[in-house]
């Protein structure tokens, strides 16, 4: 794995007994000795610590950064208050999604977090359209997620308990700045914390010293985000899916839609605004397979138990340790009603699944 990059926490992962795997060009922990199932359940019951340092951290400076950035995303950033963060996606001219991201307004600049696998392309994309784009390469990014996260972090960094979901702020810890947002990728309350790389191990060990906190790998991160109904870029959304098809219309504020004050003005606006008005032909929907057999990515979905052409395909699927049942996301005809029974073809057999609303498990954000 010599061509792979390592995060500042690599040695700590190995010391903690992690199984390391290649992921988006990095050697990352897929699981620790606890195992995927228990890591998942521990995060829901107490708190999990995730190394997400492989993700891209970017600063876009300037008083007009929000306005300029709106040319790349169908989201209102001029309406984003200082100290707040918002979910967004870079779109292409065809209305597909180049990546999904978080954008925070930190007063005199935007702080942007993008997916690891897309970060080089994202930064090139931003540089092509924005005057100043600073990639932050000297900071690690950790996520502390779960019901105990607030108490654990508040003990180290007083004040964070007062933050609400999607608030961002800068706090001091042992002489260094922590860039903290109250958000995450698990459906749990929690925080994402950017810490200087040379203090990341010390910070992670301090969090892990609390008995409520266990290190959590990519395996459980995936089952947690899937239960929370959250998209994984490159699987549930990509350049061929529009934000509307991806069931992400909630992220597109009125001001950027037809008739809004800043209507359009982002790549692919024609398609996306039309789909918002008239509805898309297909939609990312949740499925609950009957029985225990998971329907994984690539499983074709049919309208009936026999015959007919596929009506869709699973983009993410697996077993949800908290819901104790399989779950999947699939693109299906947009008029497919909740409660409809469809059939996923698993190993040559068509197994029934019910179309259900997402998240599969209610999220517990501190709104």
């Amino acid at each position: 794995m010599s061509d792979l990059k390592r995060t500042p926490l690599y040695d700590l992962h190995v010391e903690l007994g992690a199984k390391m795997v290649p992921f988006a060009g990095y050697e990352m922990p897929v699981q620790y000795p606890l195992g995927v199932m228990k890591e998942h359940l521990h995060t829901r019951a107490q708190a999990g610590l995730f190394d997400v340092s492989h993700m891209g951290q970017v600063i876009v400076p300037g008083a007009d950064a929000a306005e300029a950035f709106e040319a790349l995303v169908p989201v209102s950033l001029m309406g984003l208050k200082e100290g707040r963060q918002r979910y967004a996606m870079f779109t292409n001219d065809e209305g597909g999604i180049l990546d999904d991201l978080m954008v925070a307004n930190r007063g005199d600049h935007l702080f942007v977090v993008v997916n690891a696998a897309c970060k080089e392309a994202d930064i090139a994309h931003m540089r092509a359209h924005l005057d100043q784009v600073e990639e932050i390469t000297d900071r690690a990014l950790l996520a502390l997620q779960g019901p105990a996260a607030e108490g654990v972090l508040e003990a180290l960094v007083p004040g964070v308990a007062a933050m609400r979901f999607m608030d961002v702020g800068i706090s001091q810890w042992n002489g260094v700045e922590l860039w903290i947002s109250r958000s995450g990728y698990t459906g749990e309350d929690g925080y994402e914390i950017s810490v200087p790389a040379d203090r990341a191990v010390e910070f992670a060990k301090t969090l892990l010293a609390d008995e409520a906190v266990e290190p959590i790998g990519l395996g459980a991160r995936d089952s947690l985000r899937l239960e929370a109904g959250l998209c994984l870029y490159g699987h549930d959304i990509d350049t061929t899916t529009s934000p509307v098809e991806g069931n992400l219309s909630w992220a597109i504020q009125k001001v950027r839609r037809k008739g809004g004050e800043r209507e359009g003005g982002f790549p692919g606006a024609d398609r996306i605004l039309t789909e918002l008005e008239e509805g898309p032909s297909r939609l990312r929907l949740g499925l609950r397979p009957e029985g225990r057999a998971p329907m994984r990515e690539g499983v074709e979905i049919f309208a009936s138990a026999e015959g007919g052409a596929p009506i869709g395909r699973v983009t993410s699927g697996g077993f949800g340790p908290s819901i104790e049942a399989p779950m999947a996301m699939a693109y299906l005809p947009a008029d497919t009603a909740e409660g409809t029974t469809v059939y996923g073809e698993v190993r040559g057999k068509r197994l029934p699944a019910t179309v259900v609303p997402m998240p599969f498990r209610p999220s517990t954000y501190k709104r």
Binding site: V36, M37, R292, P294
Partner: protein, 119 residues
């Protein structure tokens, strides 16, 4: 007990063979969440994919170790697939089969050879 290169264990019980997966295999699979078993009465040939094990990570197959007939399956695994992680060599047996040729068992590894095999 005998072992296959596909990480199955085989134990004789009268004229039947009980088949399960090894501790090593269960560790590699991770937490098992679903097991699909063959039907009693199935005539199987060596190498047939006759069981599916789904873990939190992926799906894997169990192959028929030899030619024969499935005479009993472990129904407990359907309700409690986690047994495969808890007790792979005991309660989590998968099926019992009647071999077409009982002497074929001799070709498999013993425990020491299997330990060498997995390193």
């Amino acid at each position: 007990m005998k072992f296959t290169e596909d990480h199955e264990w085989l134990k004789t019980e009268g004229d039947l063979v009980i088949v399960g997966i090894t501790e090593h295999a269960s560790e590699q699979l991770g937490d098992v969440v679903f097991v699909e078993l063959p039907d009693v009465g199935d005539e199987v040939s060596k190498g047939d994919e006759i069981c599916v094990i789904e873990s939190v990570k992926a799906a894997s197959d169990i192959l028929a170790p030899l030619d024969g007939e499935i005479v009993e399956i472990n129904e407990d695994l359907a309700d409690n697939p986690g047994l495969v992680n808890e007790d792979p060599l005991g309660k989590a047996w998968f099926f019992k089969m009647k071999l077409a040729d009982a002497s074929a068992l001799e070709g498999f590894m013993d425990e020491a050879a299997y330990k060498d095999f997995i390193g």
